[in-house]
Amino acid sequence: MKRIAIVDGVRTPFIKAWTLFDALPAQKLGGMCVRELLERTDFDPAKVDEVIMGCVGQPIDAANVARIISLYAGIPVDKKAYTVNRNCASGFEAVTSAIEKIQAGQNEVVIAGGAESMSNAPLTFSKEAAGIFMELSRAKSLGNRLAVLSKFRLKHFQPVAALQLALTDPVCGLNMGQTAEVIAKKFGISRERQDAFALESHKRVIASREKLREEMMSVALPQKFEKFVLDDNGVRENLTAEQLAKLKPVFDRHSGSVTAGNSSQITDGACALLVMEEEKAKSLGYEILGTVAGYDYAGLEPSEMGLGPAFAIEKVLRRTGLALSDIQLFEINEAFAVQVLACIEAMDCKKFAEKNYPGGKPLGRIDLSLLNVNGGGIALGHPVGVSGARLIMTCLREMKRRGLQRGLVSLCIGGGQGGALILERNA
């Protein structure tokens, strides 16, 4: 099988929802990101075969947002595009789909990534209310209209946040935060440990501002273009353990430990990666970021979705014949501090391995100093359709800085999945 390379990538700053990027819908964030990628790589837009974008909350006015993004970025109309949704790992799925398409001979060059504007997730009317509105539009006479209007009750005007619905899994009836609480209790991970992990995430981002700038484009804010956004704005300078400790648990008032402070943030952003066969990249004279050695996804109990990485990582190591100790750098998406910590414990736990791994043997312990070294979703935010792509890019760049050869990227996925991908670089 051909070795597929990630040639280069760029992302917009990750911005807290309803702040600076509020006026930029996903198609615009994605469009400018893909355009920037083409500029940075001096790549001819006419040579891009397909654009694959992850996006969970697709804009209602931009169906198949990847296509809109492709055209906004100046890629010619005769090229292809489609949008993928594997929930929190949509940005991942975009890249693995790109790999599959290239290996299948369907594409030679793909731009894969994600775009998400959680700020612009719509407010919806309940189905009952929508029904009454429909009736109203069909009523012809004044009498009919009045009759329909009288059906409205106050409760019908209460909008439902689509975001809220999207972050709840209908199969197990829990929202994402509640699944994190499930794991917290199962693994007995304390509030203090979660907060410490969260604090570290923020500290690492702050220490890595310069490094992070390398992977980002600056965004000029419409309509006045007076402000240029250069940095992620979710991270809190001068955050203390005391401040974190003061927060109340959001998902379980009485006995919970998961707070807004040790969870990822709701965020807007976009990321785009240039993907093609390694041979082709070399023949075009590119110095690539790295190649993909293998990837896999795994399914698990939706109510424990946070453990997704523990399952997916085992699968991908088995697939590639590698051991955990072969991996030199890790990125696991910080959906919740507790979920990352739980994964680390699970992968090192005999009982867990016996129950869940075919070989029955634990994988080993991930060194926290090699994990999310430049910070993670808790400080940067987690624009659901994008994070997977960001993690791949950020891991490769750090591997380059440190001269490392093997990295591993993983995410947990709402609905009960996990994804994991192994990256390689020639030192």
């Binding site: 355009r35 500029e39 600056s218």
Partner: protein, 705 residues
């Protein structure tokens, strides 16, 4: 036997086809009108036809208009009157046919061509982009003289008809349908068959359904009060737009006022009368001259070779000022991705703002739709580094006017970009040859001088450096035309063409200020001559610092005759920068301007008459233009005129600076220059040898070169 019009029949429907021999373009000359009359007369004599189609054999063109050469050839009012009457009578025979006549429009249908269509009972067209329908005669200083001024308002209504004729608007097929100028649109592929079916369905009846009018329209059109308002408003609009220099629109209003709602033999005769008054005016002749020149310049082959160049698919702009932003908008508007670079985010924001504001005003004026605007703006990306420039086909630098900095930019670009990338400079005053010397492959360096505001000024001055290759030049000419601009190519000399003529004009105005003529008076003199803005206000607009800088560059290059007037030095020293700082020679508050009391002049020298003031300002430009021709900075007087009309707004009704000079007579011009040389300044007014030579031979620029 007629050679241009051919008749055949299909099952009782007659078909008249126009195919002017030996040319790609259908125009109606007097001869073809005569042939047409013979054909229609023969048709009128028959009893057996159920309908008539009138069509063209030429792809993309129905009839592009009457023969403008014939209009140009009109000498007396009597000539004009007779021409108009002749055409009208022939179209009257057409209108009088007692079978339905269907005009089948497959392309350009303008002026006399559309007037023929108006004499038919029905009009149909195809959906093609080639369909262009309108009565643009006003743009040539005349009015529709073959019945169009009477028939169009009768067909589409007073307000619409009046505005279509006054604006000379050229309509697309869809717009023509909306306006009522055509009755139906058919797919291009089946236009002829569909038109035949349409004609058959009329079953031999000419009658049409009356136009549906809403209450508002009825008010304005059906009673004399409403109509009075319409005409009053139209006159005010026209007066504002044309400042009284162009008689045609007023004649149109006058004519339609007299004839709307009461079509008779008399109305048509009045049309011929108004037409005849206009057809002999110098304004019309000049507008026709200008029309021929601009058509020629749209396609002029500057390199004389038939090099086929690849279209530009990606542009880079370095320098994100107002010009950078304007250029980015212009390029993105043609759906070409453009990358803008600067050293500061602030500047990049300014460029994006500029582009967005141009698009927004286009949105307001209905020139672009919102979704188009979003897509085009997305094609503009910005950055602080040269990323994205390597694969650009064309890079335009619009950085600060400093030779050292520009050379640095060209060196960097030369090292970075492929040898096929054209490197262009938007410099207004520095030597492109010197910039080229700093770049690898200097043959791909060229000057590409845009005018402010970029989206509105139709001219681009392309400057050929000593090293510029034919290939590069051709590519740049094609690119500029791709952007919708008219191009002149000039040699790389200080000031190129436009600035080299404009600066002495502005400088002379400054000298005249020093002699005691107030700024407002000078500006008024120039505006009464036809300049869109007076010289002093123009200096404020351009920026006193900018004007001063360019003036000094020219003084350095050309010496005493371009010596910068002292008042400019003084005003600059006072820190007055012009409109951008709110204060210059005038003080600006909102839309008002008042003379700035801070500008103090102690008048010196004898009083100058208004007449002499105008002459000094204009003739100094003519003199300098003669020098440009002598030095072969430009190739012909027409290039000078196109440059001045399209780059500075020199009055089109004078057909340009050198046509104006010829109309004054070069003998007189040289006489006055000699007088100014003796009485005012020898350096500034010594007549150029070329001028003296032409005057001695009693020739003009256009007749003696």
């Amino acid at each position: 036997m007629s050679t241009a019009w051919k008749f055949h029949e299909e099952n009782g429907i007659g078909i008249l086809t126009f195919d002017k021999p030996d040319t790609e373009i259908n125009v109606l000359s007097g001869q073809h009108l005569g042939e047409f009359r013979d054909q229609v007369t023969a048709i009128a004599a028959r009893r057996d036809l159920k309908g008539l189609l009138i069509t063209s054999a030429k792809p993309r063109i129905f009839i592009a208009g009457a023969d403008i050469n014939e209009i140009n050839g009109i000498v007396t009012e009597k000539d004009a009157f007779e021409k108009a009457e002749q055409g009208k009578q022939i179209f009257q025979v057409l209108e009088d046919l007692n079978i339905p006549t269907v005009c089948v429009i497959n392309g350009a249908c303008l002026g006399g061509g559309y007037e023929l269509a108006l004499a038919c009972s029905h009009r149909v067209a195809s959906f093609s982009d080639n369909v262009k329908i309108g009565l643009p005669e006003v743009n040539l200083g005349i009015l529709p003289g073959f019945g169009g001024s009477i028939r169009l308002p009768a067909l589409v209504g007073l307000t619409r008809g009046l505005s279509l004729i006054l604006a000379g608007k050229i309509n697309s097929a869809k717009d023509a349908l909306k306006n009522g100028m055509v009755d139906k649109l058919f797919p291009e592929k089946t236009l002829f068959e569909d038109a035949l079916s349409f004609a058959r369905a009329l079953q031999g009846k000419k009658s049409r359904k009356p136009r549906k009018k809403d209450a508002m329209t009825a008010f304005f059109e059906d009673n004399f009060i409403g109509r009075g308002l319409v005409f009053r408003r139209a006159r005010a609009d026209v007066a504002k737009r044309t400042k009284g220099f162009y008689p045609a629109p007023f004649e149109v209003i006058h004519l339609i006022e007299k004839t709307y709602g009461k079509i008779s033999r008399e109305s048509y005769r009045l049309e011929s009368e108004h037409f005849s008054r206009l057809g002999t005016t110098q304004v019309s002749k000049n507008l026709i001259k200008l029309f021929f020149m601009s058509e020629r310049y749209k396609k002029l082959a500057w390199t004389g070779t038939k090099i086929k160049t690849a279209p530009v698919k990606k542009v880079g702009v370095i320098g994100a000022g107002v010009m950078g932003g304007g250029i980015a908008q212009l390029v993105s508007n043609r759906n070409i991705p453009v990358r803008v670079k600067d050293i500061q985010d602030k500047a990049l924001g300014g460029a994006l703002r500029e582009a967005a504001s141009i698009y927004k005003s286009g949105l307001k004026r209905g020139k672009v739709k919102k979704f188009e605007m979003e897509r085009k703006m997305a094609l503009i990306s910005t950055g602080l580094t040269l990323q994205g420039f390597r694969t650009s086909d064309m890079v335009i630098e619009a950085v600060v006017e400093d030779l050292g900095i520009k050379q640095k930019v060209f060196k960097e670009l030369g090292d970075l970009c492929g040898s096929q990338t054209v490197l262009a400079s938007n410099t207004s005053s520095l030597s492109v040859t010197q910039m080229a010397a700093a770049a690898r492959h200097p043959e791909r360096v060229v000057g590409l001088h845009f005018f402010n505001p970029v989206h509105r000024m139709p001219l681009i001055e392309i400057i050929r450096a000593a090293q510029t290759s034919n290939e590069t030049l051709e590519r740049t000419v094609q690119f500029s035309r791709q952007l919708g601009k008219t191009v002149i190519v000039v040699k790389d000399a200080p000031g190129f063409l436009v600035n080299r003529l404009l600066l002495p004009y502005l400088n002379e105005a400054a000298y005249l200020m020093e002699s005691g003529i107030p700024a407002e008076a000078l500006d008024r003199i120039a505006e009464e001559f036809g300049m869109p803005m007076g010289p002093i206000e123009l200096v404020d607009q351009v920026g006193i610092d900018v004007g001063y800088k360019v003036a000094h560059i020219l003084q350095e290059a050309f010496g005493a005759r371009m010596k910068v007037a002292a008042i400019l030095e003084t005003v600059k020293g006072q820190g007055l920068l012009g409109k951008k700082s709110g204060k210059g020679f005038y003080v600006y508050s909102g839309k008002d301007k008042k003379p700035n009391p801070e500008v103090r002049i102690t008048a010196s020298g004898p009083r100058v008459s208004q007449e002499d003031a105008l002459k000094r300002m204009m003739y100094i430009m003519i003199n300098e233009a003669a020098r440009c021709l002598e030095e072969k900075v430009v190739d012909s007087p027409a290039t000078v005129d196109i440059g001045m009309v399209m780059g500075t707004g020199f009055p089109p009704f004078r057909a340009g600076l050198l046509h104006y000079a010829d109309s004054v007579g070069l003998v007189k011009v040289v006489e006055d220059l000699k007088r100014f040389s003796a009485e005012v300044s020898r350096d500034r007014f010594e007549p150029a040898p070329l001028l003296v030579d032409l005057a001695a031979k009693n020739k003009g620029f256009y007749t003696g070169l």
